[in-house]
Assembly symmetry: C2
Homo-oligomer: 431 residues x 2
């Protein structure tokens, strides 16, 4: 039975109980959310040692880190190191997007080493296998695609990105309109190339029931991917993107009916003033399914700093109701991230998630800030660092320029807080 | 005559003409904005070699970098290096906040070396001089304070932060309510200590006409500082902050009547969901005066990454109508920034400013993104780097992991854009 099926029957699974403890909410809230499909708990029973994590309405906004090799770079060693760094920095989930080397071996090693949920994009393996063995993506058979999906489910993958909404109708919308960056989703591009060459419908859409059957059997959460997500601001919120979203909404309904957990992927590149609309639209047409956004990036001009552009968009999206932020690293648009980039990406997304959680009133979110602020007011540097998002860094930066006094080197002997405590301290009521 | 007086007479100054060229807007738009007080052009005629820059409604959002020594760290050498780095990274203005060493010498050297507008906080010099010569801030005389202001105006400072709104009434609001972090403004703290000890009104408020007279004579733009700005999320948008803002609104009106350019400083630490309200409130009670915000920081927990928390808040503030973003560096809350921090801070704020400009529809803003996206689509790496916010970094990161093909090492031979161009290229209308 899937988490969804259990929740519907009113059975509190150990995973739901764990999520409730972690979030400091009632088990009933979690169970009800899972039953309604507004919360997913990606937890494949085959994945041993998983600490289950809930994603969705009423819970803290979660952060995903993408790792994995490309044909140019990466090995089992580098990717296991990135996994460690991502988890150390606080990622709630990790996707293995390997497209180079021994893809199955990479995935199995990552699952075995990971206490957090692992996601994949099975079409990568199927398509690359077709290229390697038959010279072209377009020769991939439908059975090969589903075999890759089932193999990954058997390996213990907790959630899979499946671009089921990238239908012929959506591709037609794309070809009917002008786009600047066309298609930037790798999985979407593989499927569209296959569809156009074979003049057939997207197999993940045509055989969606077959996909649901596998997903239900292994309780793999579907992450309904947006193969037509915009790849630049100029393409944001266009007809192709929204056509695909409408289909995804229908597929969410079908997944729920089949007892399969489903979340929905979203953009991408979105100007600040379109983020809220994107989130509200997804929530409406996908009946409150958890929304998993990539960034979103609020400008195209800052390659090398896209963890920052993604944090701006992610904070706004989280506030508006997005539940799961896929990080963007400083390497985005330039190359495959390494361990340094992974760390920076996770931290930036965690800042965004937390800022969003404060604004949307998630339980306990602002309490963390209050504790830090009280330590700051006391000039208690050890406590401030301990409570920080990144204690080691906070301590290192604080020590960079020693201060002669109790304050930091920014104000030295003229610290406003110190001065106020001396002058006004006794007159002020304390929080 | 000040820029404001000239604009009111319908005289187009060389500075207004330069701003219009830079912004690609009509000279009339700039002149009208200056005349109404919704645009300021901080340009002290004594500051030779200044490239005038406009701040306010209808113009691109600008970025300020704070530099300057503290009693713990910094010298003429380090601060001139920071000035260079700030300007190189694209800062539109720089404030010299020195509180250590020879403060006047530092300021003069910085003004002489700077093509961008320079701001200061004259009360620092006056207060520290009183501490050095008489052992306590509270012994500073009103004449000494105004002498420091006039000296700085004579030196060519383009704008000065003056905490004129930190009145006894506002301090009473503060003592009537609970605050977590009390006062975190250095200038505010100096003045409040002085006011409480001497049981007198804030001299910058009591003798505001004297201040206006100096400001008018040298065309120094007043930056009406918020001595009671919140120092943590828990204190955001409280009665003390807003009481001070109401007074500042009145002082804006008086400045305009006197022919003096004025902008208004704002927070600080503000949760995402209060940023828009803060901007709209300032615009309303200050009659559209340019709004100069510090960050704002959207969480207190990310010391070491406050350039990112500030970029999130800054983007939202800019979108809502803030005109001028004071950067926050990775060293914030931990120590005085060094050249590395200055660079990171300026870049993060420029991202925020640009993201905000796209959303508020500033002329030409989104055009930059479109150019980058077209180069990205063509896999033209040299052009992408050239057009980037930070070309050197973009190139360095791209080269970190070489790719065997035309794409980058993220996707290697499976680049979605390359694949789509091959598959779909001829069928798609181009932008």
């Amino acid at each position: 039975m899937t988490q969804l099926e259990m929740a519907r029957r009113g059975e509190l699974s150990p995973e739901m109980a764990q999520v409730a403890r972690q979030e400091n909410v009632s088990p009933e809230l979690v169970m009800q959310g899972v039953a309604e499909g507004t919360i997913v708990i990606p937890a494949n029973p085959v994945h041993k040692g998983l600490a289950a994590c809930g994603i969705g309405r009423g819970l803290k906004t979660k952060v995903n880190a993408n790792i994995g090799t490309s044909s140019d770079y990466g090995s089992l060693t580098t990717e296991l190191e990135k996994l460690k760094v991502a988890i150390g920095a606080g990622a709630d989930a990790v996707m293995d997007l390997s497209t180079g080397g021994d893809i199955p071996a990479m995935r199995r090693a990552i699952i075995a080493a990971s206490p957090v949920a692992i996601g994949t994009v099975p079409v990568y393996q199927a398509a690359i296998s077709a290229i390697r063995s038959q010279g072209a993506i377009v020769r991939m058979t439908v059975d090969e695609l589903f075999a890759a999906i089932e193999e990954q489910a058997q390996d213990g993958v907790d959630f899979i990105t499946v671009h089921c909404g990238t239908t012929q109708a959506a591709v037609n919308r794309l070809t009917e309109q002008k786009r600047t960056a066309d298609v930037v989703s790798r999985g979407g591009a593989f499927l569209i190339a296959w569809m156009l060459h074979n003049q057939r419908e997207n197999p993940l859409y045509e055989h969606y029931d077959r996909l649901l059957e596998i997903a239900r059997r292994y309780d793999v959460t579907l992450s309904l991917g947006d193969g037509l997500r915009p790849g630049c601001l100029a393409d944001a919120t266009d007809r192709a993107q929204i056509e695909e979203l409408l289909t995804i909404g229908e597929l969410v309904t079908r997944a729920r009916k089949a007892g399969v957990q489903a979340m929905v992927e979203g953009p991408g590149h979105v100007p600040l003033n379109q983020i809220e609309a994107n989130v509200h639209l997804q929530k409406s047409v996908c009946q409150g399914a958890p929304f998993y956004v990539l960034g979103p990036l609020v400008t195209d001009v800052a390659a090398g700093y896209d963890h920052i552009t993604g944090a701006i968009g992610g904070a706004l999206a989280a506030w508006a109701g997005a539940d799961f932020l896929c990080y963007v690293t400083p390497a985005e648009h330039l190359g495959l991230p390494d361990a340094y980039d992974v760390r920076e990406g996770v931290i930036a997304s965690r800042i965004a998630a937390h800022a969003g959680d404060i604004a949307k009133g998630i339980k306990d979110a602002a309490g963390w800030d209050l504790k830090v602020s009280l330590a700051r007011k006391k000039l208690d540097w050890a406590e401030q660092a301990r409570l920080s998002l990144d204690p080691q860094l906070a301590e290192r930066v604080h020590r960079k320029h020693a201060s002669a006094g109790e304050a930091c080197s920014m104000c030295g002997e003229y610290c406003a807080m110190e001065l106020m405590e001396k002058t006004l301290g006794s007159r002020l009521p304390k929080c």
